[in-house]
Amino acid sequence: MDDKKYILIVEDDKYIINFISMSLKKENYGYYVAKSVEEALSLFYANRPDIVILDLGLPDGDGIEVLRTIREISQIPVIVVSARQEEQQKIQALDMGADDYVTKPFYMGELLARIRVGLRKSLIIQNENPEKVYQFDYLCVDREKHLVTVDEKEIHLTPMEYKILNLLIDNRGKVLTHNYILSEIWGSSQGVESGNLRVFMAALRRKIEKEPTNPRFILTEVGVGYRFKE
């Protein structure tokens, strides 16, 4: 069986295509290259890649369209690549189900790391089997006993903090936008100020991180949201 992973690169700049594809080849991934929305969709349908790297600014339309179509039929990981001017689109893409994003300019090492996280996530989806106890480095969350420990010492979390932590863990590796977290935790992003969320996050971080200003688990994506790092 061929267990080589295939990646669909949707990007219109030939230099970027060049170095991404070279790096992927070096890492022993297979890849397809699409330079437009249309091409991206036909390649996606024809080859069913394992992960998609999606540039938002495409010559014949918005990368968001590609994402929308993919999400209609598949939950495969999508990593959005955006330039800084496309800030708002980036958040929109994440809200629409993109898993992660990198901002141009980015280092290939960073993109490769995100690809690995994405592929691991697709494995988790395949054998959906919710665990009871999560152990990440020095942090342990026991969902059965409702127990959170740091270095085996019990940490007291408020119900809200516990809820947020679990949401983050369930979506680990993925960037969760403020809106998404608000609607998951409070049921709606209306009426709850995102400032409140930031306060909860900072409080949670101070409880589970050893170095709150250099966090190990809860990473802030300023202006976008949060990500839980395994």
């Binding site: 800084r84 250099n214 300023v222």
Partner: protein
């Protein structure tokens, strides 16, 4: 609202000037001075009105009222609007003409002055813009030349050993990162220049901002001793997160640039009287006396030939100042007594109870 207030202000001014002119006229009349000269007093009054208000209207109205007042109080028969002497008719007619012409000239003159001022401001902006572009293109050319040169060397890689190739690639990366930072700074600058409209304030937790900034400064944690001190309670401040991160990146980059390997850089956050103070300190060589008063000006930079090959077009601190001030805060720079520089800025903020309910 403002317009109404302006109108009221102008009416009061005009009335005051007319009253004063009338007062002077009464005194002059008592001393036996002729009515022709009294009209002169009113002409001065009308001109003053034109100067103190805006537009033609007040001057013209002032002139008409002046004539009526003059007619009523100073021509025979007194205390009526009737005119007996033909001389008076001619006098008043000429007065009106003179007053209208003089006031319209004044208004026109003032319009011209305003246009001239605007042009001057426009020219100043243009000058700044072109000096920005000049220094950008100059300072971009240097790293670009470096990158091109390194690439040329790499592409006939035949004679190069791995070590050298790595070194060249490292150089390219360093120069590209520098260019990237410049682009970020220039983007921020244009954002500020196009007005506060683009500053989207949201409540941000100070911890996040510092973390985000620190991760973007390459070499901060591994080549320097970097320490952060935060207040016990969480501090939240309304800000454009991205831009405030940029401010801290610029300050930290600066600290990095002016310290040696193994030097100490600290960020201390304190909270007092609804303000959050960010204090970035280093134990480097401090701020040179000759640039001290103008560190925050655009295009002021000190290249002291540090071996890192650092350079700058002096935009970083100018952006810090602009961003902090656009947020209603202030930024200062000073040298520490024990050596090194200290940059402090404050923003309006509040402390929150983080009990998570």
């Amino acid at each position: 609202m403002n317009k109404k207030r302006d109108i009221l202000k102008y009416i009061i001014r005009s009335a005051a000037i007319l009253t004063a002119a009338s007062g002077v006229s009464v005194v002059l009349k008592r001393t036996g001075i002729g009515k022709e000269n009294i009209l002169m007093v009113y002409i001065v009054g009308v001109l003053l009105i034109t100067v103190c208000t805006s537009g033609y209207f007040y001057g013209a109205a002032g002139a008409v009222i002046s004539v009526l007042v003059f007619n009523y109080f100073f021509t025979v028969p007194l205390h009526t609007f009737a005119i007996m002497n033909q001389n008076d008719v001619v006098l008043m007619a000429f007065f009106l003409m003179t007053a209208f012409i003089a006031s319209s000239l004044t208004v026109r003159f003032r319009t011209q002055m305003k246009i001239a001022e605007d042009t001057k401001a426009q020219m100043e902006r243009e000058r700044l813009k072109s000096s920005l572009l000049r220094s950008i293109s100059h300072d971009f050319r240097t790293p670009l030349t470096g990158i091109l040169g390194d690439c040329g060397l790499l592409s006939d890689a035949g004679e190069l050993d791995t070590e050298t190739r790595k070194e060249l690639a490292g150089d390219i990366q360093e120069q590209a990162v520098w260019l990237m930072k410049m682009v970020e700074n220039i983007l921020s600058m244009t954002k500020i220049d196009s007005g506060q409209f683009y500053i989207k304030k949201q409540p941000e937790v100070v911890d996040d901002i510092i973390y985000e900034a620190a991760t973007h400064v390459i070499g901060l944690r591994d080549k320097r001793r970097f320490e952060v001190y935060l207040p016990e309670e969480l501090v939240v401040a309304p800000m454009d997160g991205k831009m405030m991160v940029q401010v801290l990146i610029n300050l930290l980059d600066n600290a990095l640039k002016h310290t040696n390997e193994g030097g100490c850089i600290t960020v201390t956050v304190t909270f007092a009287e609804q303000k959050v103070y960010f204090c970035v300190e280093d134990d480097g060589d401090g701020i040179a006396e000759e640039v001290k008063s103008q560190v925050f000006d655009e295009f002021v930079s000190r290249s002291d030939g540090k071996e890192d090959g650092q350079r700058g077009i002096g935009l970083g601190l100018a952006i810090c100042k602009a961003v902090v001030e656009a947020h209603g805060g202030q930024i200062y720079a000073e040298n520490r007594e024990e050596g090194g520089a200290r940059f402090v800025f404050w923003l309006n903020a509040e402390q929150v109870e983080a009990d998570g309910r």
